[in-house]
Each structure stands twice: as C-alpha cells, then as structure tokens.
C-alpha cells in the first residue's frame, strides 16, 4: 500500500515537474526582460519617433533609455529550439547594461563595434556548448544564421540569459532595420509600473511593447491547454489508483479479519477498532506520500544535475505545483479507505470469526 502510493506520487509529481519546467524555463531564459520595457514600431517604421515622444511624457520615472537593434538565434530546450534575442548594443551602453542586468564578471572582452563578435552569459554558453572563440552565428548555420560569422569574445559569469553584439554589426548585417527602444526604471517595482503604463498607453497603436509580465501571461496562456490535459491525466490516475487501493484495503482488512473479530469479542469497542484501523490507514497513506515526495525530490535532483543542468535546462526538484498535484492521491485513498473500514465494521459480527464461519 505504501509502495503504491509512493509510486503514484513519484509518477504524478515527476510528470508535473517536467511539464512545469517549461514555464520555469521561460521565466529563466527570458528573465532578463524583468529589468526592462522594450518597444518597437509595428508595420510602420516611421512610428518610432512617436513612440519615443510617448515615453518622454511618461509619468513613471525612467532611469535610462537604450536604442538597440535585435536579431534572433535559437537556444535549446526540452521542448525543442526556442528563439532568443541577440541585442545590438552601442558600446557606451555596455557597462550600464551589464550592471543593470547583474551580469557579473566578464571573461574575455566586449565586442568591437561593427565586427561579428558577441558576448553571451554562462547559461547560453552551456546550452549551445559555446566557449570563447566559438562561432555562434554563421552563414552556414540554418538555425543560427548571420551574414558573416559571429564569434564569442566574452562570457559573463552570470545565471542570467543575455546575449549582445554591437549595434553597428546588426545595422550592417541584419534585416529589417528596426530600432528597439529599451527603457529602464530604477527598481523592479517602478519597472512594473512602467510596463503597465506602456502597455496601456500604447495599446492599439503602431507599437509593440515587450514586458516581463507579458512573457508570463503569454506563457500561461499557451500552456493552459497542456495543464488542462494534465488535470485530466492526473484525475484519471487518481481514479485508477484509488480503485486499486480500494481493492488492496479490502484485501488488507480481510487478512486481518481474525484479529478484528478477536479484539472485538474480547472487548475492544467497534469505535476504538475503527479509529485504530483508520489511523493505521492514514499513517500508511501519509508515509507513502512523504516517502514518495522524498523519492521524487531525489529523482528530480538527479535528473536536474545529470540531464538538465549540463544543457542549461531547468527543472525544480522542489516545485510546489508538482507536490500539490499529488495531494488528490492520498486524499482520495484516505477517504475511500475510511469508507471501506466503516462499511466493513458496520456489518461485522465477531461471533462469525470466533465460530470460524467467515475465516
């Protein structure tokens, strides 16, 4: 009984933790966007000055504005390649950006303006197996294309995912020629206010606003169906496991029928026997859940360390959602066990045991 509950917990928590690693990866990979509010024109490049004027009237204080270009390359995830932004930054913004995004110590150097050179952070290096001198983008690489090869010249020792080259390089080699305005606020709280204000003010205009809350919202929306399917799968698992456990509890009680008959005959009250049996079942179920949770955490830690981390993938062995999803198993089993115990004892005649009529 303990083993079945344990296995069910491992199975459910494992599935949920792996699926929940997708939004976790989104939060980690695109986590840099919580430090900024990005805006580009859409459909009409001449709208860019209007965007800048909008922000000049922002009621939320802006610490700094950076004008950059962007290009896309791919990073690897457990659900396949994901697009990631290669920012084209002006050299005079390098230091501000690295401080603001807490990029830490730089191993190597900054890209020289106009050259095919890029600086990345450690998770990207790990994910794409890049090191100093590696070619990150190339005219021969279908997934990570650039007109000329882009070489990694610097790697930040940071957990943040971020990559940039020089603004000049992207101007020369990448299409379309659209500038992106990135606005920074002094702290996270002010940044969220700026996000909200930009979202509201530029809604319905020829501007695209990129904010961290939007990333989170889009992720939640895109994974909503997957989580509905997960609900269904977990629901079915709970039903199957509960039926199985009902049968086991029934067998378990039948095996102990002599004990119950004897104890009731010699004076243990039915109430005390029921309480004792339910307490035993609850103890077994709780033990199964605790052991199952511990095994899940251990297995997921192993998966994270052996399979995920080396590739820069994310999974949280202590993901609360994974363990919350397992609660219906012990709850359903406990409820049905109590029901079975009550039904069994309601009709139970100890004399039948003593006279060996039912054993």
């Amino acid at each position: 009984m303990i083993a079945i509950i344990m296995l069910a917990v491992v199975l459910i928590a494992g599935i949920v933790a792996i699926i929940d690693s997708i939004p976790l990866s989104v939060q980690k990979v695109y986590g840099y966007s919580r430090f900024l509010t990005g805006v580009t024109p859409r459909g009409d490049m001449s709208y860019f000055p209007t965007i800048l004027r909008h922000f000049e009237k922002s009621p939320v204080p802006i610490e700094r504005r950076i004008i950059c270009r962007t290009s896309i390359f791919n990073v690897n995830t457990i659900v396949g390649p994901w697009p990631f932004v290669l920012h084209g930054i002006n050299p005079n913004d390098f230091d501000y950006l690295s401080n603001k995004l807490r990029l830490g110590r730089l191993d190597g150097r900054q890209p020289i303006s106009g050259r095919g050179e890029a600086v990345i952070t450690k998770p990207i290096a790990k994910n794409l197996r890049l090191h100093l001198g590696s070619i990150m983008l190339s005219p021969h690489d279908e997934k990570n294309y650039s007109l000329t090869p882009v070489v990694v010249v610097g790697i930040y020792d940071s957990d943040q995912w971020f990559a940039y080259t020089s603004y000049e390089y992207l101007v020369q080699t990448h299409f379309p020629p659209v500038d992106v305005a990135i606005y920074f606020a002094k702290d996270q709280q002010t940044q969220r206010r700026l996000d909200a204000w930009a979202d509201k003010t530029l809604a319905g205009t020829k501007a695209n606003v990129y904010t961290y809350p939007k990333v989170e919202r889009d992720t939640a929306e895109s994974l909503a169906v997957l989580f509905r399917i997960l609900d269904l799968v977990v629901g079915l698992l709970v039903v199957v496991i509960t039926i199985m456990m009902c049968m086991l509890v029934n067998i378990y009680l039948s095996q102990r029928i002599v004990e119950f008959g004897l104890l009731q005959a010699i004076g243990i009250s039915r109430k005390r026997l029921v309480t004792r049996t339910v307490a035993e079942a609850a103890w077994m179920i709780l033990t199964g859940w605790i052991v199952g949770s511990a095994v899940t955490a251990a297995v997921l830690t192993l998966i994270r360390n052996v399979l995920m981390n080396p590739k820069g993938y994310y999974i949280d062995p202590l993901d609360p959602l994974a363990y919350v999803y397992t609660i219906p198993v012990p709850a359903a089993v406990l409820i049905t066990s109590i029901a079975i115990v009550l039904i069994k004892f309601a009709k139970f005649d100890p004399i039948a045991v003593i006279e060996r009529r039912i054993v």
Binding site: L262, L263, I266, G267, I268, S269, K271, I351, I354, E355
Partner: protein, 214 residues
C-alpha cells in the same frame, strides 16, 4: 453476578427457526467454576455468548450486576467484556504479527507487562514470550490465550471448548492452568465431561434446554 431469566436464542435458517437456547434461567455466582456440558450443536456455545453479552437473547433477559445487557450501550458492553471478563475460545486465536507476550497484552495494553510475563512464566512459556504464534504449538498457543484472558484479573473467565483442539493430556493441563490462575468465576463449555472434574457445578444442555445440574 450473571443471571438469565428464561433467555432464549433463536436462529433463522432458510425460514426455519432453530432454538439454540430455549428459556434458560440460571445464575453464575462469584468465584464459582461452572461447567456447561453437552454434545455438539446442543447450544452450549450460544449460552456462553448470552452469558458474556456477546449476543442478545431473542426472548428473556440476561443480567450482569443486576442490569440487563440490552439496556447498556455497545461501548459499555465492550468495556465490561474488556475489563470484567476474560475469554478463551475453541481455536487459539492469536494475532499473527505479535509475539506471545504482545498477544497477551494486545487488549489491555503494556501497563500489565510485568503480570503478563509472570502469567506466561506460570504457564510454562518463559522461553517463548518473544516467539510469534507461528512458532508455537497448539497447546502453547492456547496457553497464551489463557494468559491473555487472565491478564486483567477478570471477574469471570468464559472458556468455549478450550481443549477441543488439543490432545487429552494437554487439554487437562490447560484446564488445570485456567482453574489454578483464575481470580474469579470460570464458565467453561465442553463436550468432554472429564475436563470438569474440578467444577463446582456442571450444567447439562441438550437441544437448547438445560437438562439438569450436578
């Protein structure tokens, strides 16, 4: 202490009434050894169930301490069986995953451990206290059951054919142990008259009716 007034117990078998006990009136006095003797199917076990409150009569009344069992709530009746009565059944029912010592204490708790050890010693099981029932012989199991029945020094011990599954010599020893170790009344059901040589009174039962007493 225990008294019946025209107590009857009728079973229904496929629509046919079977009178296991038929208008039985008797009294069990404090500290006496009462034997109930009768052939198989005569109703002697049913009478023991009535006397111990394990079953209610279908007619008549059974009293314990001058109050009918029927007037007592189930928990109180269970408490009487637990605290005032001891039971030894025909089969030596023991809990398989408990040792002999733990089986003796299974109902009344470990507060009686010292007495449980003493009882097992007096019943010749000093070396087998920590054995599981599967490692005990039939006679040894029955002795463990006797220790369990006597542990809390009950006012009445009910023994339902305690020697039925034992050979004659072992059976005689078991009865001797019951008689020697009891502190209250002993009501013993048997079909073997030789087991009742020490009884203060022997009640004979046939087809549910008390025939005579001697």
């Amino acid at each position: 202490m225990i008294r019946t007034e025209t107590a009857s117990l009728t079973y229904w078998d496929h629509g046919r009434a079977i009178k296991a006990c038929d208008q039985i009136s008797l009294a069990i006095r404090k500290d006496e050894f009462v034997g109930i003797l009768g052939p198989s199917g005569s109703g002697k076990s049913s009478l023991l169930y009535l006397l111990s409150g394990l079953k209610d009569p279908t007619a008549g009344v059974v009293f314990y301490d001058e109050q009918p069992y029927a007037q007592r709530p189930p928990d109180e009746r269970a408490a009487i069986r637990l605290n005032a009565f001891g039971f030894v059944f025909q089969q030596p029912f023991l809990i398989g995953f408990l040792t002999a010592l733990e089986n003796v204490m299974c109902a009344n708790g470990s507060r009686h451990e010292h007495r449980a050890r003493k009882l097992l010693e007096s019943l010749g099981l000093q070396d087998k206290m920590n054995r599981l029932p599967s490692d005990l012989s039939g006679g040894e199991k029955q002795r463990v059951c006797i220790a369990r029945a006597l542990l809390h020094e009950p006012k009445v011990v009910f023994a339902d054919e305690p020697t039925a599954s034992l050979d004659h010599e072992t059976g005689t020893q078991v009865v001797e142990m019951l008689v020697r170790n009891r502190n209250g009344a002993l009501v013993m059901v048997t079909h073997d008259e030789s087991m009742l040589t020490q009884a203060d009174r022997v009640l004979r039962i046939h087809e549910g009716r008390l025939q005579e007493s001697s």
